[in-house]
Symmetry: C2
Subunit: 137 residues, 2 copies
DNA sequence: GTCTGTGCAAAATCTTTGCATTCGA
DNA sequence: TCGAATGCAAAGATTTTGCACAGAC
C-alpha cells in the first residue's frame, strides 16, 4: 500500500491524516516487533510531545484498518508490526528470550488440519510458539 | 501426582504446605483456564481473606514446580491450568471469543519441522492459535 | 467553521513488593 | 523456636477514558 493509498483510505472512512498517525505507522515499519512504549519513544525523536495515549489510539485504528497486527511475545506489552510484513510465525525461546521468525509454511499442517477438522480459520500471522532454542534446550 | 507426593516435593525443596497453596492448586484443577482473579474468588469460597497477592505468589511457585502452566488467551490476564491436563492446543476465536482445545498431534508437523530445521523445541502445551471458528468466519 | 484528533491528567487493570505478623515444621 | 508464608497497603506497569483545546479538511 502506497502512502497516498492509505491517506485516501483514511479519508474515505472519515478519519483524518495527521502527523502523529503517519509517524506511528512509520515507527511500526522501522522498529519491527515494537511495544507501544518503544513506538512512542521513536515517534518522539521526530515530533516532541506526542502522547502515549495517542500511540495507543493510533495503533488501535491502524489495526482496525488492517495495516498493523500485534502479537504477545511474553508477559508484558504486546508488540506491533506491519500486517504486510507479518508473513511469519514467531518463535520465543524461554531460555534466552530471543525472538525469531520462521516461514509460515511451517505451520501449514496445523492450519490445514484445523480447517479440515473443525472449520477453524487459523491466523498464522498471529501465531507465537514458545519453547527452547538450540542453545538453550 | 498424588497429594502426598507434592506435599513431600514442597517440603523437600524447603517450601511449606499451607492451606492457601492447597486451595489455589485445587481451584486451578477445578476451574480450568482460570485467571488469577477467578482463582482468588474460588479460593475465597472456602477460606475467607485469602489475598490476591498470595494467589499470584502461589501460582508462580506452582509454575516453577511444573505443576501448572499458563497461556495468554487474549489481551487481559493469563489463564492457568494444571500442567498434567495441559495436553492440548488452545484455539481462540476472534469473532465470538470462544476458547476450545484440540489434540496436540494437530501441531506435530510444526513441532517436528521446527526441531528438524532449527533445533527449536516447541512447547506445544503453551500454544494458542488465534483465528475464526466455523460460525464466525 | 465543523468536528475529529490530541495532550493531559486521572482512572482502571493487572501485578509486584515491603514489611509486620502469623503459622508450619 | 525459626524462618517461610501471608495479609495488607502501597507502588509499578500497562492501558483506557474524560475533557478542553488544537488542527485537518
Amino acid at each position: 500500500m502506497t502512502e497516498t493509498q492509505w491517506h485516501e483510505e483514511l479519508r474515505a472512512k472519515g478519519y483524518r491524516v495527521t502527523p502523529q498517525r503517519q509517524l506511528v505507522l512509520e515507527a511500526v515499519k522501522d522498529l519491527e516487533h515494537a511495544t507501544p512504549e518503544e513506538i512512542c519513544v521513536k515517534v518522539r525523536e521526530t515530533a516532541r510531545g506526542v502522547n502515549i495515549s495517542t500511540v495507543y489510539r493510533t495503533l488501535e485504528l491502524l489495526e482496525e484498518l488492517g495495516m498493523v497486527t500485534h502479537t504477545h511475545l511474553g508477559h508484558g506489552a504486546p508488540t506491533y508490526h506491519l500486517a504486510a510484513e507479518a508473513d511469519h510465525v514467531h518463535l520465543v525461546c524461554r531460555g534466552c528470550g530471543e525472538v525469531s521468525e520462521v516461514r509460515p509454511e511451517m505451520a501449514e499442517g496445523l492450519v490445514n488440519g484445523l480447517d479440515a477438522e473443525m472449520g477453524f480459520a487459523a491466523d498464522v500471522h498471529h501465531l507465537t510458539v514458545f519453547g527452547r532454542c538450540r542453545n538453550c534446550r
